[in-house]
């Protein structure tokens, strides 16, 4: 366990951590001396990006084993940290706590799903992949399910699944990089993307798996510090205990009492009434289409004329002009816009839901429906976790099979350090907002409110408006986007700006580390599985690594281009990637080890059936993809399509395998080999 290599790593990362602590202290002092905020943002961005690039340069390599699997000598502890950084994506770091803040108990599906999946990795897949001991996931499929043409068909299908799953995911990461970089340094969104891309590239381009492993360990340390620091501060402030995971237990009853109080507050219901009234108005106009569209337009025109006639102020004229210009151009537009407005106002007018209440619903059926969706989502996230290529790939990098098992333990341990803090942070911030912001005076709003309200004018992350004009902030008047909560927490807690910069650096590290792993998974699938195994098996090792680096560059630029177009559709599909991975890869992966009788035809059928069932359901039930909510089966949300895809894949695997000849002796001996202890 404690090899000289391990001790060397330990020394390096201890030095790194203390340098980082000194860097933070120095910045904190500089801030006190009056260094402007923008400079702190710049320093954090560039210092961390240069750090990652430097690790990449130091670990550069052209050796195949080093490039693809970090030389298979990463000790389990460090492999665990690297995998945790690989795993904690921009979504978990930035949006998950916000999601829990907004959805309460229902958001916990992500915590359960994204941790429980590691049981499947540890018990069913990881150690066996390590025993198999090649380079990629398609390698395993081709060797185990071979069939004709040296397993070409199976390999290509596995490559296809890897790319589809990883690409949607990587676009979301790069998008987050652009978002954070542009928020904290004021650079343009696309410039932010390419800055982040530069650091990803220097790192993975030069050193492949070896470089990204060592970078990810450093990134994990930054992620952890950045996430824990504001949470601990709030825990001390409200719970009198620096361990947020423990402190928020005391706070939950207080929060719940405050919620009860707010639910009965008359002013609150007054605000909700206003929103419901607005929703009602839109509903009336919707039902009056197309006549209401005409009258509405005439009214807007009339308003403008009136203002001009009575010599209204410039501001009034502007407002009337804008109202006319923004008026829906056609009846169809009006129907869409007004329906959206109605739903928005209905949502704002909804009753307060208690944070800790499981599956709140108007009646038993609605509540049961929520529970079923919770179960389905947890299932998809768990099985999807166990089938994500960039996570499974990491099983190959440890020195032995037993180290892989221990490494999965460390992975979950390090993930939990952050994931157990997320629900705590959500409760702490909620308590802070409910008890100090709600009920305060509109004339004395804290500065963070106006700062975050003005970050993105078109799509406000935070908005507070005095709906019932009483000058007091009501809870129903506050609207918070799930993306803003973690980034704003340091300011909400009243911490110095350095901590905000640190949190941004943490978010950046989370996005970059995940993007690194995903890009490598994609480019390895293309270079190793497509180029080396299918196109040119005689390629020299030098050539293989070079090809891989070039492909990495190409994939990175395509992904960055896709992210720079701000594709809302792709972002909403990230959740779907888990269902796709689960349905397509999971059945064949597990059967490959645990069911000898599974054969070539069975695996092909499983992948096809799983993928298309999942895809069909998404197209059928997801409005973004042209389906409709009414197309849902058993009321299960479209992103949880894996609930149908995985059983379909398994059924196809079993049926087709039993109907076709048993696998040959070579395959059976491979299965024997995988099962044999080292």
């Amino acid at each position: 366990m404690r090899t000289p290599f391990f001790r060397k790593l330990q020394r390096y990362y201890t030095i790194f951590a203390s340098c980082f602590a000194m860097f933070l202290l120095a910045l904190a002092m500089l801030e006190k001396e009056g260094m402007p905020r923008l400079w702190i943002g710049y320093l954090f961005m560039f210092a961390t990006i240069i750090l990652y690039a430097a690790i990449g340069v130091i670990s550069r390599t052209s050796n195949v084993a080093e490039y693809y699997v970090a030389g298979r000598r990463v000790p389990s502890l460090f492999n665990g940290m690297a995998t945790a950084a690989d795993w904690i994506s921009a979504a978990s770091f930035i949006s998950l706590a916000g999601g829990l803040y907004l959805h309460g108990f229902d958001g916990l599906a992500y915590i359960m799903g994204w941790t429980g999946g590691y049981c499947l990795v540890a018990l069913l897949i990881g150690p066996y992949l390590r025993k198999f001991g090649q380079y990629t996931i398609p390698d395993f499929f081709a060797a185990r399910y071979g069939g004709g043409f040296n397993g070409r068909a199976v390999r290509l299908m596995a490559v296809g699944a890897t790319i589809v799953v990883s690409f949607t995911y990587v676009v979301a990461q790069i998008y987050a990089v652009g978002l954070i970089a542009s928020r904290f340094t004021g650079v343009d969104f696309s410039v932010g993307i390419f800055l982040g891309l530069a650091s990803i590239l220097v790192c993975s381009f030069l050193g492949g798996m070896r470089a990204i492993t060592w970078t990810q360990v450093a990134q994990y340390i930054i992620i952890l510090v950045a996430f824990l620091m504001p949470a601990m501060w709030l825990a001390v402030k409200h719970g009198g205990n620096p361990v947020p995971q423990v402190a928020y237990g005391k706070l939950l009853p207080k929060l719940s009492a405050r919620e009860t109080q707010l639910a009965q507050d008359e002013k609150e219901s007054e605000v909700r009434e206003v929103f419901l009234q607005r929703a009602e108005d839109f509903d009336v106009r919707l039902h009056g289409l197309p006549a209401s569209w005409d009258s509405g337009r005439l009214e807007a025109q009339h308003n403008l004329d009136m203002v001009k006639q009575r010599n209204g102020s410039l501001l009034e004229i502007r407002a009337a002009e804008r109202a006319l210009a923004d008026y829906p151009k056609t009846v169809e537009d009006a129907a869409a816009v007004w329906a959206a407005q109605r739903n928005y106002n209905l949502a704002r007018g909804r009753e307060l839901v208690k944070h800790a209440e499981p599956f709140p619903g108007a009646n038993r059926e609605q509540s049961d429906q929520k529970r079923n969706n919770f179960l389905a989502l947890v299932f998809c996230l768990m099985v999807g976790t166990a089938a994500l290529p960039h996570i499974l790939m990491r099983s190959y990098t440890t020195p032995s099979v037993q180290e892989t098992r221990v490494s999965v333990f460390w992975t979950l341990f390090f993930i939990l350090l952050v994931y157990l803090t997320i629900p705590a942070l959500a409760v702490l911030v909620k308590y802070d907002i409910y008890s100090s912001l709600v009920g305060s005076d509109f004339a004395h709003l804290p500065t963070w409110v106006s700062y975050w309200a003005n970050v993105d004018k078109a799509n406000p992350l935070l908005s507070i408006s005095d709906v019932n004009l009483d000058g007091i902030v009501q809870l129903a008047e506050i609207q918070i986007d799930s993306d803003v909560l973690v980034l704003a927490t340091p300011e909400i807690a009243g911490l110095p700006y350095v901590v905000s910069g640190l949190v941004a650096a943490g978010g950046l590290a989370a996005a970059l580390s995940t993007a690194d792993g995903l890009l490598l998974a994609i480019s390895n699938a293309l270079s190793h599985d497509v180029y080396y195994k299918l196109v040119d098996p005689q390629a020299s090792t030098q050539k293989r690594v070079t090809i891989s680096k070039l492909l990495l560059l190409a994939v990175a630029f395509i992904a960055a281009y896709a992210a720079s177009t701000k594709p809302g559709d792709i972002l909403s599909l990230v959740g779907a990637a888990f269902s796709l991975a689960a349905s397509t890869l999971f059945p064949a992966l597990v059967a490959g080890v645990f069911w000898q009788r599974a054969n070539h035809q069975g695996a092909m059928a499983a992948m096809v059936a799983g993928f298309f069932t999942c895809l069909y359901y998404m197209l059928h039930a997801n409005p973004v993809l042209g389906g409709s909510i009414s197309g849902q089966w058993f009321g299960i949300a479209a992103n949880s399509a894996g609930v149908f895809g995985v059983p379909a894949g398994l059924a196809a695997l079993v049926l087709v395998s039993l109907l076709t000849p048993a696998p040959d002796a070579r395959t059976l001996s491979l299965v024997r080999h995988i099962r044999t202890p080292e």
């Binding site: 359960m112 590691y118 540890a122 499981p358 599956f359 179960l375 999965v408 629900p423």
Partner: protein, 83 residues
């Protein structure tokens, strides 16, 4: 029955029971969440605590137990060699 088959049978049995634990934990915590929310533990409603922390800690324990147990099973397998 050869040595490997005996080993594999032990491994499968353990994997199966740990998977059952994993499945039961997950399912029960979610399915009975509403019933459990009346009870409290150190201030948390029990169902909230289990979903937010308890389940994840049980998963960690399952993986830890598996790694420890597999080391012993593999040692057993190697010793059978010597015997």
């Amino acid at each position: 029955m050869d040595k490997l088959e005996r080993h594999w049978r032990r491994v499968s049995r353990m994997t199966g029971s740990l998977l059952a634990t994993w499945l039961l934990t997950t399912f029960c915590i979610i399915f009975f969440a509403r019933e459990l929310s009346g009870l409290t533990i150190f201030g948390w409603p029990l169902s909230f605590y289990l979903a937010a922390q308890g389940a994840s800690l049980i998963y960690l324990a399952i993986i830890g137990f598996y790694a420890w147990r597999m080391r012993r099973l593999e040692r057993l397998y190697r010793n059978e060699d010597a015997a």
